[in-house]
Symmetry: C2
Subunit: 391 residues, 2 copies
């Protein structure tokens, strides 16, 4: 089959190899602890489920407007006022099928063939592929502990060239959990505006912060694009509902794109999401956040004791990106062998870019503290037996 | 804002002007009959709603595999056996967020910058925009009554050039409701294969046929791409769930794309869709199909009596694409004025291409027979008063 150049350039996710081996082991009766997972382990919040079933029972489940339910767009605008003290007109908010839908819209709007986009490395692998999808060129910028795994305005200036059209940042970051400070984010926004370049700020892990809250890029400019979702903090992964905030002069074009690309986000999910901002639900989510925080503390502490190096303590999301160079020079083989020997599944660094992936692993803490403790014991014994050192 | 060339090339849907005027009239207390609608007027089938609420109550609403729930893919494979007598391996079936998601995957897989794609004109306007999205060039091929508003192998050969990479067809067609005969479809499939070109067959209106069933392109080749959805025949528009069938050697690449573009289709919608193929539900859908058929007969009959010309009686979907040249040389102005004077909303031809759009209107019959009768009365009186003749 004659496939497009862009598809040929898309890497598979290496974690899929881990996952498929994990499933094979489970079929053999082995107990696998899943620290490779990218979704919270909590069920849909009860009030959200209730809103969904009430809506479905009424039976009239139609296409919504392409931009989404007006009530939900207004509820999100209120969320920006209540949580961040930022004014965002609801007309600028588009409801999308997950954060993925937001990236599709923003990239389709902004990119022409050959446009370069700066991406933090390590970072979420799909960004590169969204850029490629529309003929753009992903430009991976290595970021490390010295800037707490984030782009900043100096790195931006140093890596800029005439083909660069903009940047994508994510705070809290996947895989590092690192949070950008407000002054850094502000400087980055201003530097990009000075260059008439776009910023897409991925704020999907907002709310899942354990030390200080993440600022929204919208606090510093109404020219940025903000992608967010109900998947992570709001615990609605399988529902596929998120949002994109666009500058006012982008509304008409993004609406055209949404009409063509999605028609609308799923209606039951949009109605369900309306419950997200109810006080009762927010209390439930805060409770969950504290559970995540406890797990983070536990996991960071124990991984360090075992001998992993964590250069920046993750302040958000539910991941620890740990340096495993004391045990291996090939994190992918290490991950496969850890799984094989102990039944602990983790994600290899090479899913997150080209910046020292062979010495990093991502540990997710979307499992209970009990399971996390069991995983830590297994990992400890694995490393003590020297099994991690394979080549 | 610097927007991409592709977005600048996307036409807005003119029906949006009609819709927004219709809403303004409704706010003034006017009764509007909506014959511009592209979705069935029936509620979600009860069994489907039941499956959804049962699933949501269990609370574990996670990402599904990128290709979709295995049970649903198997149920669709069984549907191909039961309904068409065609064998399709479930591994070739990808569950997508509506048919839109299927087009995204197929076009992203197949198109490089500058590739030409043949499209039937009149046809569904989003095809052009999906082609443009990935740098392709939509090539509108005028089709008329002589080929019952469809591409055929002769037209294909006559319009082919070295940049052409494939074609999209839709049967039953939106806006014409025309159904391709099996021999015509077979010849088309063979002609495209002879040219090593792709065919994307949009079968979203399958099941809504009133004279003879539509063949699936899968009956003639396992190299075609078939887009379908639970939206129309299965009555699940707002749920956003559809499917894409791909050739076996496309599976890995389409899976990579799905992982990146969607993560997965909405889980509650996928579980709900499982009910679609239950005998009790199929009986309900057959009942609905007969209601549509009655409306089609009524509307075609009366529009012709009023003086509209219907060159090919629509055999499927829920649209009549009628020639209004006896009344106007500008169907868009006619539609606006019909709405203003009588409160009947229809879709102007120019939403469907460049092939005599000014002399065509699309009438949807996704309203009750009573409302259809009222609409017909209003249209009749409007044309008799000569109000349609404005310029």
């Amino acid at each position: 089959m004659a496939i497009s150049k862009r598809v040929a350039g898309i890497q598979p996710f290496y974690v899929m190899d881990i996952l498929s081996r994990a499933k094979a082991l489970e079929r053999q009766g082995r107990d696998v602890i899943h620290l490779e997972i990218g979704e919270p382990d909590f069920p849909t919040p009860p009030l959200v489920a209730q809103y969904a079933t009430d809506f479905v029972r009424r039976g009239e489940i139609r296409y919504t407007p392409a931009a989404g339910l007006a009530e939900l767009r207004q509820a999100i605008a209120k969320h920006y006022r209540d949580r961040y003290g930022v004014q965002v007109e609801s007309e600028r908010i588009f409801i999308t099928p997950g954060a993925s839908g937001g990236f599709l819209l923003a990239m389709a709007l902004l990119l022409d063939e050959g446009d370069k986009v700066l991406l933090e490395d390590p970072g979420y692998p799909c960004y590169s592929n969204f850029v490629r999808l529309f003929g753009g060129i992903p430009s991976l910028v290595p970021v490390g502990a010295s800037t707490r795994f984030h782009l900043n305005s100096e790195i931006l200036s140093a890596t800029w060239d005439h083909r660069t059209k903009g940047a994508v940042i994510a705070s809290p970051s996947n895989p590092t959990g690192a949070v950008l400070r407000p002054d850094e984010l502000k400087a980055l926004v201003e530097e990009l505006e000075r260059r008439s370049a776009f910023l897409i700020s991925d704020e999907i892990y907002h709310g899942l912060e354990y030390d200080e809250p993440s600022p929204t890029a919208l606090a510093f400019s109404d020219r940025v694009f903000v992608v967010n979702s109900f998947s992570k903090y709001f615990g609605m992964t399988g529902w596929r509902v998120g949002w994109l905030v666009v500058p006012a002069d982008g509304i008409d074009n993004v609406e055209k794109l949404a009409q063509n690309l999605f028609i609308s986000a799923p209606a039951p999910s949009q109605y369900a999401a309306l419950a997200s901002f109810m006080e009762m639900n927010l209390q439930e989510l805060e409770q969950r956040r504290r559970v995540f925080q406890e797990r983070r503390d536990f996991l960071c502490d124990h991984l360090q004791k075992i001998g992993f190096s964590i250069k920046t303590i993750p302040s958000g999301a539910f991941y620890v990106y740990a340096d495993c160079s004391r045990f291996t020079s090939n994190s992918f083989d290490f991950a496969l062998s850890l799984l094989e020997e102990t039944g602990v599944a983790v994600t290899p660094g090479k899913d997150f870019g080209k910046n020292a992936p062979e010495s990093h692993l991502r540990f997710s803490y979307a499992v209970t503290l009990d399971r996390l403790a069991a995983a830590v014991e297994r990992i400890k014994s694995f490393t003590q037996r020297g099994l991690g050192v394979r080549r």
